[in-house]
Amino acid sequence: MTKQMLEIRNLSAGVEGKEILKSLNLSVKPGEVHAIMGPNGSGKSTLAGVLAGRGEYSVTGGSVTFSGSDLLEMKPEERARAGVFLAFQYPVEIPGVNSTVFLKAALNECRKARNAEELDSFDFLKLVKEKAKLLELDPSLLNRSVNEGFSGGEKKRNEILQMAVLEPKLAILDETDSGLDIDALKIVAGGVNKLRRPDNSALVITHYQRLLDYIVPDFVHVLAKGRIIKSGGKELALELEARGYDWLLEAEKNGNGKP
């Protein structure tokens, strides 16, 4: 059996005393793309936030192991350096912080953690240009302050460019498709596909099946009320698109839908 990259066991977590994730289980092996779908309020973004180390969530039970380490014990920056990347649903605008300076500092922190040599400005810019070309993105995004004044599409593209530069082991895409027009969606999805490798994985969180036309997942999970109530192959997404979530919620109530 291949070693798990991400192993979530009985994870319970919430915010301000309200439990959102309830004993959630999920395993991701290297090279796999898992899609997490589910109705609004099911806990999708909470899962992404807990994995990235967002401070406002408190974990009340269970464990998360990432490449053999206890992920929940790590600070957000330690998780990033270990290879976890969260593409934000709402990337933050940070006026006055130059994108290039920021991303170079981030990359070098990650490289230091991997015992790789730090890149100087010249090599860094070369790398950025390569990645931007691969993803058909405009590297001039990085000449500006982080996300400042970016359109929704530019922000999401910038997330993918950052991901390409940082080369994470596990990419978590939190509703990366929300608010994107179809061209932007294609570029973002195309970027994710080009970055797929046998040794890295992705957790694609989405509300819509549409994204999964472009990023074809190995597994699809349905998250509802804080738990995964059904798992299947990519065809599950199509079924959800056709039938909605109600039949699953109904089945779950009757105790038939457990994965």
């Binding site: 990033a80 990347f85 933050v92 940070i94 006026p95 006055g96 920021f102 990359l107």
Partner: protein, 434 residues
């Protein structure tokens, strides 16, 4: 109290320079009388509500004098900017020709005020102590009554002087209560251009006091950049008045960067005295521990079609206290005025305090005036975003502080100064401190 004031005035006036012209003596006397009438400010006065100067009065105030410790060129090196222009050094209020560089250049006169007073000129007579009003401000009156020395800079008509003139005021005396009364006069002729960097620093930890006044007179079409840096030791006190008077179409770019002293009070004022004048007031204050840093600005739109832009940013941590009071007057005559003011504050601890107050008094009816003040903490979402990419918590905080301050620093056009400020910012908010 009165006798304390009398004693203080007497003690401070003892250094009246030799060769002071009679007309200066009479202004001094008028100012002395006025200081006496005004008395020390107290917190019951609106202008001093948040800034209690009692600790200054508790010191054994006396005129600063050099007391033996020699100062070499090596001592002043860290405070010198990488510029090749004139460089005037004042140690404990006294001009040090041996440490200064006064290259002779055509079109610009740079010298110590004392030496200018000896050769009394029409320009001096016209402008010295004629602009900074000492009627309402005790410290301006005190300075006018007792000033010792400072810089005189005058650029001739149509002369552009690119290299900044640097003035360094260094405290070396180790005595608490040593007070220097610094006086600068900067004159820019018609269509001239000039940059001046005025910095205040310490080679001592003593609780000394600086009371500085700088007057700037901007001729028609002139452009003056005035960069004021206050980085005195953390036990010292700093009180300053900067008064500009702007003629037609002149452009004043004023920077006040205040990071040092236990208590610093800055009065930055301009009179837009003819149409087409533009003033940009740019400020950054950093407070930590128990520091109090106070900026009172006054932009007086006296004539039509003038513009003013004011940007003051503050970063406060520890138990620091920031004060910003921004006055804009738009006189009856000053139609088509365009005045903007912003004051942004980053408050990093629960114990730091900021009092910010915009004050607009508008007597004309066709004007555009806006003001805004913000007080906020570090943006948690931005911090998380940076950390989620691998940057440490301290590194992320530092990035956000630098971005906040960088806004103001970016407006300084002298690169050597910007570099110094970036360094200062970095050392100031080292990860262990925030």
């Amino acid at each position: 109290m009165i006798s304390a004031l009398e004693d203080t005035l007497k003690a401070l006036a003892s250094l009246e320079p030799e060769g002071t012209p009679v007309w200066v003596k009479s202004i001094r006397e008028a100012a002395r009388v006025r200081a006496h009438q005004t008395g020390f400010p107290n917190t019951r006065q609106e202008e001093w509500r948040f800034t209690n100067i009692a600790p200054i009065l508790g010191l054994p105030l006396h005129a600063a004098a050099q007391n033996g410790r020699t100062v070499s060129a090596r001592d002043i090196e860290p405070f010198k900017f990488a510029c090749s222009g004139p460089f005037l050094v004042f140690v404990d209020g006294a001009f040090r020709a041996d440490l200064s560089l006064l290259p002779r250049k055509t079109g610009i006169e740079v010298d110590s005020l004392q030496s200018c007073m000896k050769s009394d000129s029409a320009a001096l007579h016209k402008h010295l102590a004629r602009h900074a009003d000492f009627d309402a401000n005790f410290f301006t009156a005190l300075n006018t009554a007792c000033f010792q020395d400072g810089a005189f800079i005058s650029v001739a008509d149509n002369v552009t002087f690119d290299e900044p003139v640097q003035l360094l005021f260094l405290a070396v005396s180790g005595k608490p209560g040593a007070m220097s009364q610094t006086r600068n006069l900067i004159l820019a002729g018609r269509n001239s251009a000039l940059k001046v960097v005025e910095s205040y620093a310490s080679l001592t930890d003593a609780a000394y006091v600086t009371n500085a006044v700088t007057e700037l007179v901007l001729g028609e079409g002139s452009r003056v950049e005035h960069c004021r840096l206050q980085n005195q030791n953390k036990n010292s006190y700093h009180v300053a008045t900067v008064q500009a008077v702007q003629d037609k179409d002149s452009h004043w770019l004023s920077h006040s960067i205040s990071t040092g002293a236990k208590l610093a009070r800055h009065q930055i004022q301009t009179l837009l005295n003819a149409p087409g004048a533009v003033a940009v007031l740019n400020g950054l204050y950093l407070g930590r521990d128990e520091q109090l840093v106070d900026h009172h600005t006054v932009v007086d739109h006296a004539k039509p079609n003038c513009e003013s832009h004011e940007y003051y940013n503050g970063v406060l941590t520890g138990r620091a206290h920031g004060v910003f009071n921004g006055k804009i007057f738009v006189r009856k005559d000053a139609q088509k005025t365009n005045a903007k003011q912003t004051n942004r504050n980053l408050v990093l601890t629960d114990t730091a305090v900021i009092d910010t107050k915009p004050q607009l008094e508008i007597f004309a009816d066709d004007v555009k005036c806006t003001h805004g003040a913000t007080v906020g903490q570090m943006n948690e979402e931005a911090l998380f975003y940076l950390r989620s990419r691998g940057i440490s918590a301290a590194g992320a905080r530092q990035m956000l502080i630098r971005a906040f301050a960088g806004d103001v620093i970016g407006r300084v056009t002298v690169q050597a100064v910007r570099v110094k400020l970036e360094e200062l910012l970095e050392s100031r908010f080292d990860p262990a401190q925030i």
